[in-house]
Amino acid sequence: MALVDERLTDEAGFRMSEATAGDFFALLKPRVMSLVVFTAFVGLVAAPVTINPLLAVIAILSIAIGAGASGALNMWYDADIDAVMTRTASRPVPAGRILPGEALSFGLVLSVMSVMTLGVLVNWLSATLLAFTIFFYAVIYTMWLKRWTPQNIVIGGAAGAIPPVIGWAAVTGTVSLESLILFLIIFLWTPPHFWALALFKSEDYARAGIPMMPNVAGQASTRRQIFAYALILAPVGVLPWVLGFTTPAYGVVAALLGAGFVWYAWKVLRMAADDKVMKPAKALFGYSLLYLFAIFAVYLADCVVGRALAIGGA
């Protein structure tokens, strides 16, 4: 038996929660979190100084929880539009498994805890960057940009691009050109990635009233913009080698991956206007995920191997 306040059992619609820990974990957007963890880890390892391994784990954990918290706040605020989109209707809040207030409290508590933990145990620059990321994603992107402008994911993409900078700052206590290049790669990758999705999910976004690029500027314009971003992203992906941060091996792989991105974007550009299946857009969406994981993995491998060779040669 549970003791409850009388106020809560009246007509106000109170009900005891049936949410499980798994539902709360889903609020953290685990798939997005995996990308955040990976890119933050690369920033952390790429830094030229070392950090105690335990503090490194704490830093990554805090960044992951902070990213998850912003996801929970996003799901709290966007429950109305998530409910009408097929891709998001089964999320815990629109599906009714978690109450909006529970999601809000969960997001706020985790936001504060992740930032404070990172600040107290690692350093305050990385904690400040994490706090800014959470604010930018939950407030600037979710509450403002997303429902207002087709440039929503262009500007909002900055939030998803910061994790490697936080990882780097956690180790060095600074922000450097190397980490900003990693930021730039994710920042330029975000629009073609999400616009590819928006092309074949445009009806979903239209139903929810979100001004995504295909719904506002049309599919032809979106395809041109995807291709333009791909043309900029491909050389930026090679920049770490051009600027001398990596070996030529990274440069070659990054160039090949970038060429692949341009190729897939080209196929989207050439897609027939009446194409309802949109296989090229789906292919680009899938490839863009592979691209980001691959380019960061190669960057990581290049750093680790380069360091091992330097130690071996010393």
Binding site: M1, L3, V4, E6, M16, S17, E18, A21, L55, L121
Partner: protein, 53 residues
């Protein structure tokens, strides 16, 4: 002793199971947090002590 004027609700089996599940998760999370802060404190103290010696 329970006051008879207080209103009580009976949880369904599903609600009880969900509550148990949440309580376990909160317990594990808190335990992990305690271990993290304890070990991190030792690491940071150790580092600072090594720096002063």
């Amino acid at each position: 002793m329970v006051d008879k004027n207080l209103e009580l609700v009976s949880l369904t089996e599903r609600q009880q199971k969900a509550r148990r599940n949440r309580s376990m998760a909160i317990g594990v999370a808190l335990a992990v947090l305690v271990v993290i802060f304890y070990v991190a404190t030792i690491v940071k103290f150790g580092h600072n002590l090594a720096g002063t010696m």
